[in-house]
């Protein structure tokens, strides 16, 4: 995988922030910067001003010797691989950091215990990093959009395969298990998160976990699910009604959420303010006197994490840019009674805005 451009961008950010070396401990950030997917590793990245062609160092242990060599093109990524114990890693890091003064470490992914070890080992004081690699990860390149597209396709196909089983009245747990099974059989590493299958009154809880309740005729069923493909996550929600004649209330709520979601998606355009997506969804629901029942945020970025930058809410002061991939997921929840949520994932690409989750939104299953 070509990752040189990502490391170059990071080196420039470090330079601006006055950081000479960044210690990267978040494994997803290491994967993003180098392509390495091992479960143990630490990456040292020097700023561009230290020396434009100074290589970074990736430390990992003997289990990953072959894998690291296979996954990282050292000259492309400008990263040298070092295999060894934690002690060797600290010794090498001391040498590497000679002549540098500001050493920063990722503060969210470094435990206090590990921070204390680094502080003891190094000659310099180590500070929490003000540079966030997550900010770079927000803007996906074409390879990443392609991975996300595949993840979404797998999830769509899996749901379309298991949807007919809804009429067999499975339990929520059984249906979630079938859906996860199909995603894996289609090549996914696993679900993106714990699949939500919430039926009847359970659908009114936005974060419901599947239970042993049977899904029966007359139930609304919220299905919020995703597949992981090469580390990239999909995220999609559909709401169904089991039976041929939905209640008036279901029809009214469903139609309002559908309009709200379309209103939000219509704002997922290059350079549009992100807060306007949130506003469009909420204004639309307000038109049906349902705004108060939309009790969570409107969306989020999707990538190596299922929830990442940018956050789609009213206080965002950012605009959509090339490479943003965001969800739009308004919902209405009537406590103890009924919930409806519809969610798509949209990528902002050179060719325009692309909805990656394309399974039908037709809600009736009989």
């Amino acid at each position: 995988m070509k990752t040189a451009h990502r490391i170059t961008a990071l080196k420039a950010l470090l330079d601006e922030a006055g950081i000479d070396i960044l210690i990267v401990t978040n494994l997803l950030n290491i994967r993003y910067l180098t392509g390495f997917t091992g479960s143990a590793g630490t990456l040292l990245i020097p700023s561009s001003s230290r020396s434009a062609d100074d290589f970074g160092l990736l430390f990992t242990d003997g289990r990953y010797r072959e894998q690291a060599a296979l996954q990282i093109d050292e000259s492309d990524a400008q990263v040298a691989i070092q295999i060894g114990s934690a002690r060797k890693q600290f010794e090498q890091s001391v040498l590497f950091a000679r002549g540098s003064s500001i050493i920063a470490i990722e503060a969210d992914s470094t435990s206090l215990a590990l921070f204390n070890q680094w502080s003891e080992a190094m000659e310099q004081t180590i500070v929490p990093s003000t540079v966030k690699i997550e900010v770079l990860r927000r803007f996906k390149d074409e390879t990443e959009v392609s991975q996300l597209r595949t993840a979404c396709q797998i999830a769509d196909t899996a749901l379309s395969r298991v949807l007919p089983k809804l009429s067999d009245e499975p339990t929520e747990n059984e249906f979630a298990t079938e859906l996860d099974y199909q995603m894996r059989m289609l090549g996914a590493e696993g679900p993106s998160f714990e699949t939500i299958v919430a039926s009847g009154a359970n659908s009114s809880m936005p974060h419901a976990r599947p239970t042993d309740k049977k899904i029966v005729e007359g139930d609304a069923v919220v299905i919020d699910f995703g597949a992981t493909w090469n580390g990239y996550h999909s995220d999609c929600t559909r709401t169904y009604f089991l039976g041929s004649t939905p209640s008036d209330k279901f029809e009214r709520i469903y139609s309002a959420v559908e309009q709200s979601q379309i209103a939000g998606v219509s704002k997922t355009l290059l350079e549009m303010e992100i807060s306007s997506i949130d506003k469009a969804c909420r204004d639309s629901l307000a038109g049906h006197q349902l705004a108060e029942f939309f009790t969570h945020s409107t969306g989020h970025g999707v990538g190596l994490e299922v929830h990442e930058l940018p956050w789609v809410h009213s206080e965002s002061n950012s605009s959509l840019a090339l490479g943003d991939v965001v969800t739009v997921e308004p919902g209405v929840y009537l406590p103890g009674e009924l919930g409806v949520r519809i969610e798509d994932t949209i990528a902002i690409t050179q060719a325009g805005s692309e909805c990656l989750t394309i399974i039908s939104k037709s809600p009736l299953i009989s």
Copy 2:
């Protein structure tokens, strides 16, 4: 769930260590101490000397209001539940800690970023805790052994259901997916870890991940898997040979590993030194000139984590005690050729040593 005895034990440890208040951030430790399973929470526990009947404080957010009330018997656990924002949590903690001088925090599960927030919020200096709740978690009570027994039974049953499918020559990925599916259908929350199905030459890699390689006649197949039940993990490995006439080499290696594993299990007795389990396994393999091919450690404790205290290796200076639940899992790996591993989970109970993983070890599948 009755957890008062766990909190009482912790309070005494804090007292011995001279810690007035421990800030618990590890969610598994919070679950262990209180029964609360939410995905966000912080627990403050005062030492027994501060005041024998001082309640602890569990902070969590609004999503978990009902769940926390349902899961925690406040008077039994001696923990008061407080719902609110991070800011409110810090304000309440300052009040709670008035008059205390030594405040410690769990160093492995607290990020540098969170530690800095706590340090800013509190009047006292916060230090990394020298008391490890993981040490208490090592010794399971009867309820916990019962959860582990169920987890092992689910895994056993699932494997016995899918084993006949081996002769259909599925891919490693397909077989792993079927096994995970059956565990969930039997009520597991999920697999205990990423299921290992390693066939043919792949079996020689102890940590192989399932691939799209077909499992074919003449293959050895290592299956290392477990189920999670109420948060408790099972862990079991079986090795099979697909075909009616195993190679001489497979028979020789399998028989050696089997003897080694039996030798190790025979040492899983109350008060036995843990290092002697390791020694028994390695000595047995040495008798077949195979010791050098056993390249990982012999076992580990199992509980709320699939790998936890006690570690079963030659340098252990601990002995088995009531409530220990450990794996015994010797293996022999001939690089690029063949691997065999056999693993059971054994509980040290009042009634004696109980093997929780009881699925047959007969290796031939045809």
